[in-house]
């Protein structure tokens, strides 16, 4: 093998004939060296590159932990129970707590933000899950291929729309339209029982919890639909055909065979959507009103952790002690931990049921 390709070149040329051997053999020798080097270059390049995501992850965690440490020390458990987010007086003298300088009167309670993040994400997933399962059934089982392929692609495109554009549409068109039609209807007609009484009260102008959740729903439906449709395609045809042969209706085949076959995979798909919803920022900054409060009803403005990080950084810079920026680091740390855990859980569940796994990344 070696003699065929470049073995002759590897032998050192006799000294006297070097002048004749210029040109072709030298080029061939260089090519051989390059070729040998190429394997090494690929290997080392790949080795370095594959370590970079790991290094980036360690770096992100280290920076967040270092930056958040003073805030964690001072804010303590009140960070999760308190509901006042105040930078304090940036003109007065600073005080020290546990050796950490911060302005007089500063108080950081993130409970409304944590609750808001959970509310918007939970509502979005609860609405998106049945819709996505319906879409996946329509795309994989019910519609002919020439219809389902373009429709599936249209849903994929929806995932690619930049979140800030979705947010702008939400605040200019979608929210106001809903606040004039759907919201008054819901507020008037839903019964005043526990959970649903949350839908009572003044309707507002379309910037609030429910509008944000609807926009989030639109963003995660494509993710859950794609994952669920992939799972459905893996269900073998024989059990389904067997069910039909026994006289089951297509609803019974769908619910008793297909759905049951991929049950835990669908939970994984929903959790994948949840992970995406928890970290979404721009669409929510624009549509939920970005006011730090626990929403009294589903139409009222509120905020989430991610939206708060985006809107608070500017004003935090006015705090000369840097304590406000440290508290934002604590927020970021909490958000990162929650969404990483949720994502890992989702991947684990989806991976357990399907060899192919769900689509990863940020949706598109």
């Amino acid at each position: 093998m070696a003699t065929l390709e470049g073995g002759a070149d590897r032998r050192p040329a006799p000294p006297g004939r070097r002048s004749q051997a210029q040109g072709q053999p030298r080029l061939a020798r260089m090519a051989a060296v390059l070729r040998a080097g190429e394997t090494g270059a690929w290997k080392w390049g790949a080795r370095v590159a594959v370590l970079l995501p790991f290094a980036a992850l360690v770096f992100v965690v280290a920076v967040l932990a270092l930056k958040a440490y003073p805030a964690v020390k001072v804010n303590g458990g009140g960070f999760f129970t308190g509901s006042a987010w105040k930078i304090g007086s940036t003109y007065a003298a600073t005080t020290r707590t546990d050796g950490v300088a911060h302005p007089v009167g500063s108080s950081y309670g993130a409970w409304p933000l944590v609750a808001g993040t959970l509310q918007t994400s939970a509502i979005a997933v609860v609405i998106a899950l049945p819709i996505s399962i319906g879409c996946a059934f329509a795309l994989t089982e019910r519609l002919p291929r020439w219809v389902s392929r373009p429709l599936g692609f249209a849903i994929e495109l929806l995932a690619g729309v930049p979140s800030v554009v979705l947010g702008l549409w939400g605040v200019l068109t979608f929210g106001p339209a809903l606040s004039k039609t759907l919201y008054p209807f819901l507020a008037d007609h839903l019964p005043d029982v526990p959970v649903l009484s949350f839908f009572k009260g003044t309707v507002g102008h379309g910037e609030g919890l429910l509008t944000g959740s609807f926009v989030l729903t639109l963003m995660i439906v494509p993710i859950i639909t794609a994952t669920t449709a992939d799972l459905f395609r893996q269900v073998p045809a024989l059990p389904k055909e067997g069910g039909e042969a026994l006289g089951m209706t297509d609803f019974e085949v769908a619910s008793k065979i297909t759905l049951r076959w991929v049950r835990s995979g669908i939970i994984g798909a929903a959790v994948l959507g949840l992970g995406r919803a928890l970290g979404e920022t721009m669409a929510l900054v624009l549509t939920v009103g970005a006011i730090f409060q626990l929403a009294p009803n589903v139409y009222s403005p509120m905020s989430t952790i991610a939206a708060a990080i985006a809107t608070q950084l500017d004003s935090s810079l006015t705090d000369g002690t840097g304590f406000a920026v440290a508290s934002i680091a604590e927020l970021a740390l909490v958000l990162a931990v929650i969404s990483v855990l949720v994502n890992l859980a989702a991947r684990w569940i989806v991976h357990r049921t399907s060899r192919l796994g769900g689509p990863v990344g940020r949706g598109a």
Binding site: A46, A49, V60, V63, C135, I155, V164, V165, F251
Partner: protein, 291 residues
């Protein structure tokens, strides 16, 4: 209700439900597209594409150039790192003792990284690069943060594409005496190229439409990029206009915001359609070859 009757009712409900679910997704999608177009169309002038932005007046030349520069930079940085990482995960990592794919921990790290919200990455970029390294709001910190964001995605796409290359190709290359690196370039990567390019296009679409991490690393500037990587006092891009200019008091600023939204949507859709066309063409190709 008799049992047979109940069964047929459920069947009808199920069929109607699947159609309803599709409508519930597609109608807002169409509404969104119509909304974006109808906001921008009435005042649309092609000159926004090549007119400078001056405060709240002028056109979108600076931000458009900025978004394109960001995408090109991400293509170079995240593209090379992501593709190489994917090569390692698919080709070089040693299989586990039970025969599964190797590199579990490294793949896990990439997965975890893709789960970190972009706003958190932006904050870290702000603290560590913009302030920590005194880079100020400029191109390089923005590029690095965006790249960290999309590298896991490109690595995953590359790994998947490489795993679909038949082993016989690699064996054939080896039998012809090709070195591993040579066959990687001439045989393996070549046949995996459509999948990798698709991953890159989708990553570009994500990077071009991203806002949150850029607010903290690039902030904004209305001037056209001058070529500086750091200490630029701001770097302009399209999504910022969508986020901020719609609420400004001047009508022209609002119009610019709608224009930026339309341009972004057109750009992203073009990239995604391009990716889909590549997939469709190669699928046809492989099916033809298989028979």
């Amino acid at each position: 209700m008799p049992r047979a009757r109940r069964r047929s009712v459920f069947t009808v409900l199920f069929r109607a439900g699947t159609v309803l679910a599709l409508l519930l997704v597609l109608s807002p999608a169409v509404w969104l597209l119509a909304g974006v177009i109808s906001k921008a169309a009435p005042h649309w002038q092609w000159s926004v594409l090549w007119t400078n932005l001056q405060g709240e007046n002028g056109g979108l030349l600076g931000p458009i150039v900025g978004t394109l520069v960001l995408m090109a930079g991400v293509l170079v940085i995240a593209g090379s790192v992501g593709v190489l990482a994917g090569i390692h995960l698919a080709e070089l990592s040693r299989p586990t003792r039970r025969g599964g794919a190797g590199g579990t921990w490294l793949r896990m790290a990439a997965d975890v990284l893709s789960g970190v919200p972009s706003i958190v990455l932006g904050y870290v970029g702000y603290v560590a690069l913009v302030v920590g390294l005194h880079w100020d709001f400029s191109l390089l910190p923005a590029l690095l943060v965006l790249s960290v964001m999309v590298v896991p995605y490109i690595a995953k796409a590359t790994e998947t594409a490489l795993r679909q290359v038949p082993t016989s190709y690699r064996e054939g290359a080896e039998a012809l005496g090709m070195s591993m690196g040579h066959s990687m370039r001439r045989v393996v990567l070549k046949s995996a190229a459509p999948g990798i390019v698709t991953g890159l296009l989708i990553a570009l679409a994500i990077a071009g439409g991203e806002t949150a991490p850029l607010l903290f690393t690039a902030e904004f500037s209305s001037t056209v990029w001058t070529g500086s990587l750091v200490r630029a006092h701001g770097f302009g891009y399209l999504t910022y206009l969508v986020y901020q200019y719609w609420s400004y008091p001047s009508q022209h600023a609002n119009d610019l915001s709608y224009d930026a939204g339309l341009i972004l949507v057109a750009m992203v859709l073009l990239l995604l359609v391009g990716a889909r066309v590549i997939v469709a063409r190669t699928q046809r190709h492989t099916e033809y070859r298989g028979r």
